[in-house]
Structure formats: structure tokens, C-alpha cells
Point group: C2
Chain length 327, copies 2
């Protein structure tokens, strides 16, 4: 397309409840968004829903689309382009890259959603242009990704860095979902841990706002605990501080391993902002090694719910650039 | 040199008590070794000792030497080629690469000794040719390195992966030396931890061989505890099992992060062999994620005391190949 300098791709964030596709240019202009629910019966129906969503984003935008990136909540075999195992979607050992490339007639690039979010922050967000970045996305679980020397650190067969499943307390509580471990960062510092600790703190302090909310039978959400903490409720603040300190123990291990310039923290729990990050920063200052601990900034993510879509677009832009460099 | 196809370099293992230099070809033939003590007054004297040792290895071998690699027990700034901070040597913010290159008149490549040992095992040893490898060297402390996609993972400014300073027990004992952390893998599973746990086990079981050795005032060494365990002394075996299980917790975190095909374990403590590695393997099978845990082999290092020298030579061979590719 003459006169258009920025390349345009579609970034697709595939989630357990919905698929979000955006046609983006490399300057992050979003030309069109499309979204559909992913409550489907089986893998075949899921593929149809994804294809329809991507086609809608493509036809709705007036730029030429040269590739499609997917962030998938799934372990990935990058060598074969296979989506191996997902917890919340009917995907199992699916040749995702080839299937989508065939259906869409475009080059397709896939990665897990944590890696996509890390790429979004490192290319366009809170750690823009930094070579060494650790990203943690804290929601029900803890996902994320590691970028070293500008490249996603995918590990053996590209199966992805499970940053939430690093142990911080070997005798801690059992981890969540399919993880057979104990005391992983995920089970100690995720939104699920926040709820667990908030219930216990509320029971210990029945007169506090947190305790009264609990006694009233209101379902405690992370947003609610955070709101109470922002309003000055002491037990709610202590819960966030406890979680933040545990997060800091995990981040200190990452700092000692990777000496990143930035640790970016995103996900729903980051509504707590510095109530969570300040204790984490204190622990890293106390516990990590020099000179790495003096070089790292622990910062909130720039992207919220669109991190996955932006990161998936970045995956496609990256992949196309690599293909062009090889040609 | 006509007729010689293998490139030859000098690998230098710089330690707190001695410097060992070997002239090696890329097929691992050692043409000449030289060694000198490193008990020196200051940095200037240390430089002279190193230069003399390298020159001896060079003049003693009859092949052309094209580069020198150094493994240094030190944090390294790869960008500037600076040896930043060493615990056991009079080195501090020293422009090591430039100083040695100037003195020796050869291309010089430096890295910390843990990274050099990892490279030795991945290029020539127990994980030969494997792209994704984690190496742990267990002695007084725990060092090592991480190789991803065939390249050493050096992190920000190349300051090195401190694999021993990943927390496995956030409320565990204070770590060793200059590390301000608690419950690091190093303080839980190093040779120092082995001694600590053996003393306690000996006191609890005064009638055992371990208890009697302790009561006799014989200085307990790791080698001695290992010998008692090999002879079937139950408390000594339990100490090694405890250490091996803690090691497994740390390895499970690395498996979840990097999905390596090999975790290579070396250092003096590996005299215990499978008495240490079998419990570690069990814990990884219990606690790490699929599919990564099914892909990993936990194996003893192939190189003993010469790992550092071989790895330093591999550093030089790698560096020269990279320079040739660029030219």
C-alpha cells in the first residue's frame, strides 16, 4: 500500500471467556477491534470463532494486514507451532500455527499470553526498549514472561517461562490448578492468595472494615480489599503488604538470576499500585545482590486489558521482521 | 600453522588459591598446563602472576594460540569487560579484558567461573550439544550458569546468573558471605549446609558412625559424610537426602522457568553422586510442571577440577567464532 510506512498486523488475545482481535499498525494505532465469546463446545467450534473474529478485524480496517499474532493461555511447542495444553479452553496438542495460517491465508505467530504481555511492555510499554525485562501478570494466577537481550526467553522447545511457578516457600501451601508444587509464587502472591489472606485477616479483626465486610457476607473481591486499603483500613493494608513482600522475595530471585533493568507488574491485582509494589521494592532492596538490585526498577504495567492484544501484534511484527531479515 | 585444523586457545581458571592455564585445541587436546598460586598482595601482582602463567602455557605448547579465555570468581560487566567484584581475589572494578589483551597481545574473553563451567559441560561434557542447560556447581557455595538456545544467559550488562541465590525458603536461615538474603539455594543445599546439617544429625544420633565421628572431635568434611553414607550410616544418608530434596526444590523452579533438557550438577559435593541426585530427581518428578519435568535429565558433571579451564577455553573458541562470523 503506497504511502503507508507502518506495517499493520492483527493481534489476537485468546482468553477463557472471549477472543479479542485488533488490527494494529507498528505505531500502535488500532484500526479496528473485534470480540466474540469463547464459550464453545469443542476445538472445531473454537477455531471457527477465532477465524470469524480475525476476519472481522481484518475487513473492518482499511489497511493491508501482513500477519497475525496470537497470545494463548496455553503451553506452546514453538518448534512445531503446537498449542499443547490449556486449562480454560478446549485446546490440546493442536497444530495452532498451521491451522490458523491455512484458514487465514496469512503468516501466523503464536506464543503464550504471558510472553505476549511481556513483549507488549518491552516493545511499547513500561519497559520500552529495555533489553532485559521480567514481566509478572498477577490475576487469579501469576503469569508473565522473561525478555533477555531483547528476545523472549522461551526455554526448551519454546515451552515458555512459568514465572509464577518458582518456589518461594518450600513448605508452603499446595499450589493451584494443575501445579503439583508447594509454595510457588503463584499460590503465595496471586489474587487467589489475596482473597485467602483477606478472609483470614477479616476473621482476626472483626471490628475492621474488612472484618465487617466479611461478616456481612459480601463476597470479598480483590478490588474491594484494595478499595478498603486505599481508604486506610489497617487489616486490608497489611494483607497487601504481606502479598507485596512475598512478591518481593520472588522478584529478588529473578533479579539475582537475570539482573533485569525492569520488573513490570501487571494484572488485576495491580489496582493496589504502590500498596503492593512498595513492600516488594523494600524486600528486593533488603534481599537481592549488588549490583543487580541497584539497577532494577519495579514498575506497574502500562497496558491493562489490552496487553495481550498489543503483545500478540508485537509478536507478529517481530516474526515478520525476522522473516524479512532471513530472506 | 599448515596442517593443523583444530584452533587452539588458552583457557584460564582463576581461583582464590591458584591460577590454572591450559593450551587446548577445539578437540579438547591439552597441549600444555601451567599453574601458579594466587596468594598475592594486590591487583598488580595478581596481573603479573596471571600473565606469567598464561605465557608459560603458551610457550610450552607447540601450537599457535589465537585467543585466551578466563573464568573468574567474580561478577562481570560484559559490556565494558570489567571484573566488578570478587570475594576471594584482590579484584575490584578492574578492566580485566583490556588489561589482559594489552599484556598478552591476544584476543581475550572473560566470564565468571560458573558460566565457564556451564559452557564446558554444554560444549564438551554431560550436556554436550543440548541447547538448554542449567549447571549447578556445589561446593562451599553454589555457582553455575544457564545456557538457553546454545547461548550463556548473562542477564543485564552480562552480570551473570546467580543460580545459587534463588530463594527456596523465604523464612530460612541467613545466606552466606555477601548475600543479604534468607533461604537461598546456596545456604540450604551447599557444602556448607551439608556440614551444618551433618553436625546436627550427629548430635541427634550419638551412637551412629556420624555421631561417633563428631564426638571424637574429628573435623567433619563433606567427603567424610559422603563416605559414611556410602558405608550405609543412616544419619549420614539422611543428611544427603535432605540436601538432595532441597536441591530438587531449586531445580524444579529452574525446570519451570527454562524447560532445560539437562540440569548438570558438579562441584565437590557431587562425590555423593546418586545419594544426592536421586532425592533431587524424586522432588522434581513430584513438584515440577509437565511437559518440562518429563523432558529433563538431572546428571552429574563430566568435568571435575578442570571444568573451569575447559570452560574458559570454550569461551575463547566461542568468542573467536563470533568475531569470525561478524568479519
Amino acid at each position: 500500500v503506497a504511502g503507508v510506512s507502518a506495517e499493520s498486523v492483527i493481534g489476537v488475545d485468546l482468553g477463557g471467556s472471549k477472543v479479542l482481535a485488533g488490527a494494529l499498525s507498528s505505531d500502535l494505532t488500532v484500526h479496528h477491534r473485534a470480540q466474540r465469546p469463547t464459550r464453545v463446545r469443542d476445538q472445531a467450534e473454537l477455531v471457527d470463532v477465532i477465524v470469524a473474529t480475525v476476519e472481522e478485524a481484518r475487513s473492518g480496517s482499511d489497511v493491508e494486514i501482513t500477519g497475525v499474532g496470537f497470545g494463548i493461555p496455553c503451553t506452546i511447542d514453538q518448534v512445531r507451532g503446537v498449542a499443547v495444553m490449556a486449562v480454560n479452553l478446549p485446546i490440546s496438542d493442536m497444530p495452532f500455527r498451521d491451522v490458523m495460517s491455512e484458514r487465514l491465508g496469512l503468516p501466523v505467530f503464536i506464543d503464550n499470553d504471558g510472553n505476549a504481555a511481556a513483549l507488549a511492555e518491552q516493545r511499547f510499554g513500561a519497559a520500552r526498549g529495555a533489553p532485559d525485562v521480567v514481566m509478572l501478570t498477577i490475576g487469579t494466577g501469576i503469569g508473565g514472561g522473561i525478555i533477555l537481550d531483547g528476545n523472549l526467553c522461551r526455554g526448551g522447545r519454546g515451552s515458555g517461562a512459568e514465572v509464577g511457578h518458582v518456589v518461594i516457600d518450600m513448605d508452603g501451601p499446595p499450589c493451584q490448578g494443575a501445579c503439583p508444587n508447594r509454595g510457588c509464587l503463584e499460590t503465595m502472591a496471586s489474587g487467589t492468595a489475596l482473597m485467602r489472606e483477606a478472609r483470614e485477616a477479616g476473621l482476626r479483626a472483626p471490628g475492621s472494615a474488612l472484618g465487617r465486610a466479611l461478616a456481612a457476607g459480601r463476597p470479598l473481591t480483590g478490588a474491594h480489599v484494595t478499595e478498603l486499603a486505599h481508604d486506610g483500613d489497617e487489616p486490608a493494608r497489611e494483607v497487601l503488604e504481606l502479598l507485596g513482600r512475598r512478591l518481593g522475595v520472588g522478584i529478588a530471585s529473578f533479579v539475582n538470576l537475570f539482573a533485569p533493568s525492569h520488573v513490570v507488574v501487571g494484572g488485576g491485582v495491580m489496582a493496589a499500585g504502590d500498596l503492593l509494589l512498595d513492600p516488594a521494592r523494600e524486600v528486593v532492596a533488603e534481599r537481592a545482590l549488588r549490583p543487580a538490585k541497584d539497577m532494577v526498577e519495579i514498575v506497574p504495567a502500562a497496558f491493562g486489558p489490552e496487553a495481550g492484544m498489543v503483545g500478540a501484534a508485537a509478536l507478529a511484527l517481530d516474526g515478520l521482521a525476522r522473516q524479512a531479515a532471513r530472506a
